[in-house]
């Protein structure tokens, strides 16, 4: 399993450039939004957490749809399916490697973007914390889409469409926990705990559903 993790990580660093694409895309988004909002720094600070979260969500989508498709094209998927470790575990490990390869860099880059967006320290810390807790959920949900994409000749957009609606709860609670940390009356813990719960829920459901889809995609 560790071997699989390391291989996937190596591949994403060497070939896909997952990390850098994500961060650059993220930066592009953050660079463009101020044009819409105008030079109003306060407003920027206010929508900052939301923008960072949305950016993280969208850039996680970029390489996710080929998580299993690349494996199928070179025949590796067959061997992964035949192996005795439960498929759920294999999928979970692949998700983890993908997360480390693409989402973690985003989390690490987020303080920088927070600065760009004129957010204060609490907000930055809160965004980082919620991202680190919430972004795995996005990967796990995306894995289901990626598994479905294996049967589709070309995944791409269709997968994103199927996946995005499911990520809405993650986004809602991630953003609202961040705002709760900044704005006084609202308590931080309830939405944050819900976020944790969502991540745990999808950590269980996502790989299981993806494994189910992969098993049924036999051809």
């Amino acid at each position: 399993m560790i071997a699989l993790f390391l291989r996937d990580l190596k591949l994403s660093i060497r070939a896909g450039g997952g990390a850098l694409i994500g961060v650059l895309f993220f930066m592009t988004i953050v660079a463009v939004i101020p044009f819409g909002v105008g030079p109003d720094l306060n407003l920027l600070a206010r929508i900052g957490p939301a923008i960072v979260w949305i950016g993280a969500l969208l850039s996680a989508l970029l390489g996710l749809d080929r998580l299993f498709q690349a494996e199928r094209e070179d025949g590796s998927l067959d061997l992964l399916l035949m192996h005795e470790t439960p498929l759920v575990l294999t999928v979970a490990v692949k998700c983890l490697a993908h997360w480390v390869g693409t989402s973690l860099p985003l989390v690490i880059a987020s303080p920088l973007l927070g600065l760009f967006m004129n957010m204060d320290e609490t907000a930055i810390a809160a965004v980082m914390l919620t991202l680190i807790v919430g972004s795995p959920a996005i990967t796990f949900i995306g894995a289901v889409g990626a598994a479905v994409a294996v049967v589709l000749p070309r995944g791409g957009l269709l997968v994103s469409i199927l996946v995005l609606p499911l990520t809405v709860p993650v986004l809602i609670f991630g953003v609202s926990a961040t705002y709760a940390a900044v704005q006084e009356p609202a308590p931080f813990m309830p939405p944050f705990l819900i976020l944790v719960a969502i991540t745990l829920f999808f950590a269980a459901l996502g790989p299981a559903a993806a494994a189910l889809a992969l098993r049924n995609s036999a051809e």
Partner: protein, 253 residues
Amino acid sequence: MSENSLAITKFSDLANPTRFLTLVARLLPWMAGTTVLLFALGLYLGFAAEGDYQQGETVRIMYVHVPAAWLSMMCYTVMAASAIGTLVWRHPLADVSAKTAAPLGAGFTLIALITGSLWGKPMWGTWWVWDARLTSVFVLFLMYLGLIALNRAMDDPSKAARVSAVLILVGFVNIPIIKFSVEWWNTLHQPASVVRLDGPTIDPEFLRPLLVMAVAFTVLFFTLHLAAMRNEILRRRVSAQRRLAARMAAREA
């Protein structure tokens, strides 16, 4: 040879579309009749009733909006149940049921969305707000369309059914979000007043036509669903026979 037909006989005992078709042929006229009667009754009750003092005439939108909204969720539930049938029992009729429910669900969701907007303009002063209930219904609509697109993108029907079943089940998380969004978030939208634990809080004058319309919509849904399932079965039968014919021709040649 005999093993072949033996195996298939066993299979067809499990799921017998032929028997299903005869059943549908018997049921459909009755259901269609019931639908028409219920709609007549519901519309009569709805338009005979007084207008709401607060909402004025527009309360009549409720008689289509609320049943359509309920059905949009119920249809998804039907699909989720069929998805379980597909994955657990590998029942071919479950495949057909899930596939044919999606366009109907999209239709009812669209009705809920449009009538909701039409109600929102006089009541809230805007066609659309991005509150939790409205957006989650919109997301439901997108999911229906996504599932339809997914089904169209694959041409092996049984594989398509199994894969979309997985997605249907995962997407089921959206249903509780729609149902409870008004309670979890402060929204413009009305909280539940009919389907709630402590009994309906709505005026019986509005409740009666609403319930009749709800039943009418439900029967309409099942009528359409059965008919669509029949069509899908026929479609598959046609394609199976075409394939067989092509193979036979190739064999003789």
